[in-house]
Symmetry: C2
Subunit: 337 residues, 2 copies
C-alpha cells in the first residue's frame, strides 16, 4: 500500500476496496460491514433496517440533468432500495465554503426537497459546517438514510438466492452521468447533449417486488461502473458471470466520448442505474415491467450467472473474443459524485 | 439575510439557526426536523428510533485529548443519547485530501474503533471520497447514527415534562474542548494543559435512566455552548430559566484563556458535556450518580426552570446583577468540531 492517499483511493474500484479492507475493516471489522451492498442490513429491535451513508463532492456542483442536492438524495435512496428496503428517512450534512452563494444553496436545498418528495422519503435531521475560503471546494453534502426491509426480502442484499441461470438486467443506458460531468467540466459539446441519469429508483424497484418478480440481488451502478459491480458480485459469492458486449446499452455520444478520452464504458459511473439479478423464470417479465417505468425504458438483459468461471466475469465481445472484466483500477475521472 | 455563506453560519448559534430556518426548513419543512434536539425522533415500523448526523471538520485533526475520529464517534453517540436512545449503529463518511498520510488515517480509524467499542455502538456502513490537493483541508468525517428509544423515554427529546422547579445540571467543567483546540492552534502553553473533554456519554446517561431518575430533557453542549443550549430550550418550550454564574464549573485555565481572547465561557464548545433538566425530587440524587461516573466527577446543579421570565435565560452574576443570556451570535472560533 502507498503511504499517502491518492485520487484512485476514491474511485470506487480496486484501490478503494483495498483501502477499506486495510484501514477501515481492519479497525471497525464486523460482519455487517463486510457484505455485498453499500448499505448495512441489520436489526433495530423488531425491524430489519437498511442504513447507508454517502458523501458527495461532485464537481461542478450544477451539471446537466441535476445538481449535488438531488444527486445526494438519489444516491442514498438508491443504496437503500437495492437492499429491498423501503426508504424512510434521510439526514443531510453540509460542509460549505465561506463565500458560497446562498441563492445557490437554496437551489440545492430545493432540488433535494423535490427529489425527496418524488422518492417519498423524509429529510428529518441535518448538520451545517462552514469552513474558510480555500478549505473545501464550494460545497460537500453527506446524506445518510434508513429504510425498512420486509421479511420476504432480507435475502436480497446478501445475494443468498443467486444461482446459475439467473439473468443480469440493467435498466438503461450506461455512463450518462459520468459523461455529463465530463462534458460540463471540459465544456464538451454534443449534437445531442448528454444529461446525468440521476434518479430515485425506489418506485421502479418497488414495482418489480410488488409484481412478485423473484429478485436475487440488486446493486446500483455508481462509481466503478457495471464492470466493478459485476466483478465484486462474482468474487464475493463465487459464481461466474457472462455478459454480452453487443447488448450493453451505451449511447452513441457516450461511446464516442469514451473513445476520445480512453475511457471504458463498463467503468463509467451512473446515478440512476441498477444491476438486477433475476430468477430465469421472471427475467423477461422483469424487463417488460422495467420498460413501463420512466427510468427503465431502455432496460436490457445483458448476461447471466454461470456455474463455470467461478469468481470471474467473462464478456463476449463484439468481435467474437472473450475478455475477463476486472474491477476498475485507478480512476477514470475524479469527483463524479 | 446575507447573500453569501459566512463563517458565523457554522457557529451553532443564532446565524446557524436562521440559515436552517430560512433555507433548509423552508424547503425540507416537516414536523420532525423542527424540534428541540439534534437527533430526529421518529418511527421505524414498530420501533421509536433516534437518527442523527454530524460532519466533523475540526482543525487540527489531532488535538490534546483526541482526534477527529473519536470526536466524530462521540459527537454522534451523544446526540443519540440525549434523546433517551440506546445508540446502536454508526455510519462514517470520509472526505480525504489527496496526499493525506495513510498512517494518520489508520490512527483516526483506530481511535474511532476504540471509542465505538467503549460506547458499545457498531460502525456498520461507510463511504470514502478523495478530492485533489487543496480541495479540502486534510480530512472531514461525517458520522450518522441510529438508536432505539424505549417507550418510557419518548417524552425526553420534546421536553414534554419540563416544568417550573426542575433543576438544571451539567456533568462537569465547561469549555475544555474549545480551549484545547484554541491552544493547539495558537500553540498556547498552560501550566496544566487543557485537554478536550471528548467522551461518549451514553453509559453515564444510561445509569441515570436505569436508576429511575426522572429526566425531563437533555442536550449535549457542543457548538454554541451552554448559553445557546439554554436559550434554545427557553425559547422553544416557553419556560424561564435562571442560572447562577458562581456555580457554573469552569477551569481556571479556561477562564484565563477566555479573558485573554475575549471569549465568554458560556458559549464555549464541549464534546463530553450534557445539560440535564431533572425533576426537583431527583436532582440531588442525579448529581450524586453523575459524580460516580468518570465523565461526571464535577457535576453541578447550576440553575432551575421558572414560571417567570418565560422564553428567557437569566443569569445571577457573581457581582450580584442579573443578565439575560442569549444565543451565541457570530462565532468565537471556527472549525472546533
Amino acid at each position: 500500500m502507498t503511504k499517502t492517499i491518492l485520487i484512485g483511493h476514491g474511485s470506487g474500484g480496486l484501490m478503494t476496496t483495498n483501502l477499506i479492507r486495510d484501514v477501515f475493516l481492519k479497525n471497525f471489522g464486523n460482519t455487517i460491514l463486510d457484505h455485498l451492498s453499500d448499505a448495512a442490513v441489520t436489526q433495530a429491535g423488531k425491524e430489519t433496517i437498511a442504513f447507508t451513508t454517502d458523501s458527495f463532492v461532485v464537481d461542478p456542483v450544477f451539471f446537466p440533468g441535476g445538481n449535488i442536492g438531488n444527486l445526494a438524495v438519489c444516491g442514498t435512496v438508491n443504496d437503500l432500495s437495492v437492499t429491498g428496503a423501503t426508504p424512510l428517512y434521510l439526514s443531510c450534512g453540509f460542509i460549505i465554503e465561506e463565500g458560497f452563494s446562498i441563492n445557490e444553496l437554496e437551489k440545492i436545498a430545493s432540488a433535494m426537497a423535490d427529489e425527496a418528495k418524488k422518492a417519498g422519503i423524509q429529510i428529518v435531521t441535518g448538520d451545517t459546517k462552514v469552513v474558510k475560503k480555500g478549505q473545501c471546494d464550494r460545497i460537500f453534502i453527506n446524506t445518510s438514510g434508513i429504510g425498512i426491509i420486509a421479511p420476504g426480502y432480507t435475502h436480497i442484499s446478501k445475494g443468498l438466492h443467486v444461482k446459475a441461470g439467473d439473468r443480469i438486467i440493467v435498466n438503461g443506458f450506461l455512463g450518462d452521468h459520468e459523461i455529463a460531468i465530463l462534458a460540463a467540466r471540459e465544456q464538451l459539446e454534443f449534437d445531442q447533449p448528454v444529461k446525468s441519469d440521476v434518479a430515485p429508483l425506489n418506485h421502479m424497484i418497488g414495482e418489480l417486488l410488488n409484481a412478485g418478480i423473484d429478485i436475487h440481488f440488486m446493486r446500483d451502478i455508481t462509481r466503478g461502473g457495471i464492470g466493478t459491480v459485476l466483478s465484486e458480485l462474482a468474487g464475493k459469492i463465487n459464481i461466474g458471470i457472462t455478459i454480452d458486449e453487443s447488448v450493453i446499452p451505451v449511447r452513441e455520444q457516450v461511446a464516442g466520448a469514451c473513445e476520445i478520452y480512453g475511457f471504458n464504458p463498463l467503468y463509467l459511473a451512473n446515478e440512476g442505474k441498477v444491476m438486477l439479478v433475476i430468477a430465469e423464470k421472471d427475467a423477461k417479465k422483469a424487463v417488460e415491467l422495467l420498460r413501463k417505468n420512466e427510468y427503465g425504458r431502455e432496460a436490457r438483459m445483458i448476461g447471466e450467472i454461470t456455474d463455470t468461471n467461478r469468481g470471474k466475469v467473462i464478456m463476449n465481445s463484439v468481435i467474437g473474443s472473450k475478455r475477463i472484466i476486472d474491477k476498475l483500477t485507478g480512476e477514470q475521472l475524479p469527483r463524479i459524485c
